[in-house]
Symmetry: C2
Subunit: 347 residues, 2 copies
């Protein structure tokens, strides 16, 4: 794993895109954030106007979390496997959104407890090709992953990103599935920003006040276990994360290094984006934020990354759904900078 700085998107293209935006036959600033988005896409593509995004690909990283056995979720861990089957059947929330907006979906089992023995062998092999282990360790009691598991999960994320890029992806999105996933993710944000559990813990799929307080306390216990290792973002990810979270972070770093933009989803996407930028400084310049989640950890991580999400609709489904719902806004931004008349053409 490389920790060198990620080259920035094209400053020349960004400047030319700004000039084109200012030259459009629209009042200055009238396109609002769609104008900014078009400029960012131009910079990531080194192309003014930006090219259409016609190969947007989502990878859902699935895995279970030891903490889910410790009263931090409104749902039992068995739901993780059930939802993976729902993705495979194309019947989940993100499946519906992805079909509507032409986004390709792939789901991978990085650390599910379920062994998916009932699946057709080919589908099962594809799903488990990058499986690291069954459920990460409960982070308040033990390190989530061993060094070897961390390395495996990181390589998985790199490999998957390269495969998606090799398929011609012009925008990548990561999604996550795993009951309990907001607890380790909140812990990652807390460790990265030096905050206590109470600042980052949210209700996830809908826990009550008691479970919320318990979740915050569990995060604090995990942070105490982490101790001085908080200074090393890779160690933070290994100790507090999970196979799916490590793979997601590697996926985002690899995407940024390849010079391809990524659209971050909710808490998990943005937290992994923050870790990606800590491990590979400059990666965040390749990220935009799809939506604001009600999880407080997501807003904190967004602020640290300097990102403002495109949508704010109170969605908290996970799966990459908020980012997929925001994809049409990228198409809007591109069309505006590409197709609107220039003032000089109106004569």
């Amino acid at each position: 794993m490389s920790t060198s700085t990620v080259p920035a998107p094209s400053a020349t293209a960004r400047d030319r895109a700004q000039q084109r935006l200012a030259a459009l036959a629209t009042p200055p600033g009238a396109l609002g954030r769609l104008g900014d988005l078009a400029v960012w896409l131009s910079a990531t593509q080194d192309s003014v106007p930006p090219r259409a995004l016609d190969n947007v690909r989502l990878v859902i990283f699935a895995g279970d979390h030891g903490v889910a056995q410790h009263g931090v979720s409104a749902f039992p861990p068995e739901i993780t496997g059930a939802m993976v089957r729902t993705f495979l059947a194309g019947r989940a929330g993100v499946s519906a959104l992805a079909r509507t907006h032409g986004v390709h979906v792939r789901v991978l089992d990085l650390g599910c407890t379920d062994d998916f023995a009932d699946l057709e062998p080919g589908a099962r092999t594809d799903l488990q090709r990058h499986k690291v282990r069954q459920a990460s360790a409960p982070i308040h009691l033990a390190d989530a992953l061993t060094d070897q598991e961390y390395a495996e999960a990181w390589r998985a994320g790199e490999t998957v990103a390269r495969e998606e890029l090799g398929s011609g992806a012009d925008l990548l999105i990561s999604g996550d599935m795993g009951i309990g996933n907001t607890t380790p993710t909140a812990a990652l944000v807390a460790a990265a920003l030096g905050l206590p559990g109470s600042a980052v813990a949210g209700r996830g799929t809908g826990v009550d006040d008691t479970a919320l307080a318990h979740k915050a306390a569990l995060v604090d216990q995990a942070l105490a276990r982490l101790g001085d290792r908080a200074a090393d973002p890779a160690e933070v990810l290994r100790v507090l994360g999970s196979a799916d979270l490590v793979a997601t972070t590697a996926f985002l770093v690899t995407t940024a290094r390849a010079g391809v933009p990524a659209l971050l989803d909710g808490l998990i996407g943005v937290a992994c984006g923050l870790l990606a930028d800590r491990i590979a400084p400059g990666a965040a310049a390749w990220f935009a934020a799809g939506h604001r989640s009600p999880e407080p950890g997501q807003s904190l991580a967004l602020e640290a990354l300097g990102l403002t999400p495109l949508l704010d609709l109170g969605m908290r489904l996970g799966e990459g759904s908020g980012a997929v719902a925001a994809v049409p806004l990228l198409h809007s931004a591109i069309a505006l900078l590409r197709d609107v008349a220039l003032l000089e053409d109106l004569g």
Copy 2:
């Protein structure tokens, strides 16, 4: 013009849609406002799940405003005609967005100063079929329209809505073009809500502080001229509006009466939506709000209507552009309520 109450969307369908939403294999509330939007669409269509929207139609009502000669806009009135030509050429901002999202666009000259004598005769006839007059009177000095002009503009809006509905529209959007249009529209909001010019005046296409203060004063002068007539919403519209604003309001009332949903755009769409609901109580139940504009009058009118916009991207282009940019969220909402597995189906 009828002022009777507009029948509400189907309460039965709304309840059934709520039940279906609660029965989806997603955590309660996880779809956020997309879930609410799907329920509203179900109610407007009397169909659970809602049908796909495959005939979304935008009508841009264009007209000039006498106030534009009185220092309230950053642009000269001649731009109105230039922009109408840009719509006809498919080169405006909303043209680019509408093409991207499959929205049909029609532009009509209700009150432009420009006579469009250079246009090909067929195109000119289509554009001016519903023309009421050239530029409304400056509202701080005179009533915007005569009674007869008001009646003509109202009939135009009704006729155009019926034509669009006759073409099979399953969602209608109104857009507006006219240099100076935020001044009469701010005055409409002020009169409807009993507020002074300073509360509703915004920067429109980008006026400076001096012009902003002048705009607020001009609105106050218009409100003083209006006087007691503020009690009658149709009079408010005739005295403070313009041919394009009257037609837009009639278009929205007619859409609601036909039981078809409308997606409101920025200040102009929402202000006309507010007047529509005053003239035809209950009309607002057929409206959703596409985006939040930076104009203070829009936020005030949204609040009065009880609507929260889907997008908040700082757009202030007009033309219906914010609503068109929000159309994919309606497709998302429909797909979610229609395609996501029910919990009972997962076994």
